[in-house]
């Protein structure tokens, strides 16, 4: 065998273990999810019978599912809009050097780097039905009734808003640092040239800088959408999907049905509704990456 011929098996020998591992634990369950969704698998059951689209039919007829589906979109869109607005403002505030910038950055990052389940339990305490510090302040300023203060996690609308805001809180730092990376990557001479040409702050921002930032903002949004649409942690910890399933989202409902309810097949059918969005995001991401490669 030739000297370089030996390298021909060296490459595969080095990357195949990793790929096989990922295929076994991502690819195989991914396919199984499809199989389960058209079968009758329950926890403890052994056999497998093909039942066609029966699971999807029963899922689609359940009002809880339709509500979860709607909630998932509301949850994702609302929190991502807030994240995008906040992250752009915050990134602009952070892009210039000022004393204490490192500390502020650390503080602002904490919600992202702390385990999300831990952060959510912190919020659960802040939003507590009895000891909520928010209510304490509102009562002080006589903004709410002392004897029936709002129950942030107990009333459907407030619960949904709480879930959205806590998720926004969690995702904001991530989007901020990505956009910040974009800001620092803009060649300084371009905005400088624009200001020499007489462009004021807002003209510079909207006509020069933001368009240049668009690819990176895309990245932040795409990751944000994926991480939000498929997340169940915030909902699970804050409300368990309640009150009365009003804050249920697709992933949490899949968990309650498939794992706690032992109906693997129907759970799988519910979680498969995540797939179309994943495909769209993956496609958009490849396009962004491709464009970046071309330019």
């Amino acid at each position: 065998m030739s000297a370089l011929g030996r390298q021909r098996w060296l490459g595969p020998a080095m990357f195949l273990p990793a790929i096989l591992y990922v295929v076994a634990l991502v690819g195989v369950p991914f396919v199984l999810a499809f199989l389960y969704s058209v079968g009758d698998v329950k926890v403890g059951s052994v056999g497998y019978h093909f039942v066609g689209l029966a699971n999807f039919k029963s899922v689609l007829q359940s009002p809880t599912f339709l509500r979860s589906l709607r909630n998932s979109f509301v949850f994702t869109i609302a929190s991502q809009v807030l994240v995008l607005l906040g992250a752009n403002i915050l990134a602009m505030a952070l892009k210039n050097v000022f004393p204490g910038r490192r500390f502020v950055r650390f503080l602002i990052l904490l919600p992202w780097v702390a385990p999300v389940s831990i952060g959510s339990i912190g919020w659960k305490w802040i939003l507590d039905s009895l000891y909520s510090v928010i209510n304490w302040v509102l009562i002080r300023f006589h903004l709410v009734n002392e004897f029936s203060p709002p129950m942030y996690l107990g009333e459907p609308k407030l619960a949904m808003i709480s879930v959205i805001l806590v998720h926004t809180w969690h995702m904001l730092p991530f989007a901020t640092v990505i956009i910040l990376a974009g800001w620092t990557a803009i060649p300084k001479d371009i905005p400088e040239a624009a200001s020499v040409d007489g462009a004021r702050f807002f003209r510079r921002l909207f006509q020069i800088e933001l368009p240049m930032m668009l690819p990176i903002i895309n990245v932040a949004v795409l990751f944000g959408v994926i991480f939000t649409f498929t997340d169940m942690t915030v909902v699970y910890i804050l409300t368990r999907g309640g009150p009365y399933d009003t804050t249920q989202v697709l992933p949490s409902q899949a968990f309650f049905t498939g794992i706690l309810g032992s109906d693997l097949a129907e759970g799988a059918a519910i979680s498969l509704f995540l797939v179309p969005l994943l495909v769209v995001v993956a496609w958009l991401m490849l396009r962004t990456a491709h464009k970046a490669e071309v330019t």
């Binding site: 990357f15 991502v26 195989v28 650390f106 602002i108 999300v116 831990i118 699970y236 968990f255 693997l264």
Partner: protein, 283 residues
């Protein structure tokens, strides 16, 4: 004119400070709240008449002591550490050679495989947990720490490969050529040259993998049903709650202790993670 300019600058600075202040408070408040709650005596904590923002009675360590003495917290910390070390080891063993092979040995289609692997990172636990719970059961790993040790690398490996590929690409090719001319085989060059000069990239992967292990929630919740086998990320929010009674003091102390070290570690390596996410879209 000069006055106008100065006024405008002053206004800009005020807005800047206000924006920073708003976000710092909004994002940092829960952590302040964890600190305050952790060290407050219960009579202070549960008295609605007291100003909740300050210590009205002497601070106490009773919640922290309770946490370590009476709960499984220490156990969870140990579990998390153990799982973290195992997952890091598996990830490094598989991802480092794979990333190198895909950047340097396989040529052009290695890059495509790299992108494909990265895309698997986008497949969420909430899509896979149902079939995986069965696979875990088949392997006889349900309700053990090993279930997550086996499953976690399925998402730490893809992102680590992606991070490392970016890192290896930045190593000049001529270095490896020189090593081979100097008498090493390609694989020896990888071991004796590429790995030593990639220490900081590998360290990034270690920290990243470890933080992912501490942050993961869904798989641990699904596969592990006994409190004593849990990690911090599930143990604290699920099992520190007894019935409907929350021991808020010790709960917040647990949050603080598990969140801060990870936060600090992550912060040190932040720029590298961001580079991993933004490869291609920032020049």
């Amino acid at each position: 004119m000069a006055v106008g300019l100065k006024a405008r600058q002053g206004f800009g600075r005020a807005v800047h400070v206000l924006v920073l202040l708003f976000f710092s408070v909004a994002l940092g408040f829960p952590f302040y709240w964890m600190v305050i709650t952790s060290f407050k005596q219960n009579p202070d904590l549960y008295n609605l008449k007291n100003n909740p923002f300050i210590f009205n009675m002497k601070p106490t360590l009773e919640h922290v002591t309770f946490l370590f003495r009476e709960t499984l917290f220490l156990r969870w910390l140990g579990n998390t550490l153990f799982a973290g070390i195992c997952v890091v080891t598996i990830t490094l063993l598989l991802a480092v050679p794979a990333a190198y092979a895909l950047t340097r040995i396989t040529g052009r289609w290695g890059g495509h495989v790299g992108i494909a692997i990265f895309l698997t990172y986008l497949v969420p636990p909430t899509l896979l947990f149902i079939p995986l719970s069965r696979i875990v059961a088949l392997l006889g790993l349900q309700d053990t720490l090993w279930s997550i040790i086996v499953v976690y690398p399925s998402f730490t490996i893809p992102f680590s490969i992606w991070l490392l590929m970016g890192f290896f690409k930045s190593i000049p090719r001529e270095l490896e050529d020189a090593a081979m001319v100097d008498g090493l085989t390609r694989f020896q060059a990888f071991l004796k040259l590429v790995i030593p000069i990639s220490v900081s990239g590998i360290l990034t992967v270690v920290i990243f993998t470890f933080t992912l292990v501490t942050q993961e929630f869904v798989y641990a919740l699904t596969f592990i049903s006994s409190a004593s086998h849990q990690t911090v990320g599930v143990g604290v929010p699920i099992y520190l709650v007894r019935g409907d009674v929350y021991y808020w003091g010790s709960l917040m102390a647990a949050c603080l202790i598990s969140a801060l070290p990870i936060g600090i570690l992550y912060n040190l390596f932040l720029d590298r993670f961001i580079a991993g996410f933004t490869v291609g879209s920032v020049k």
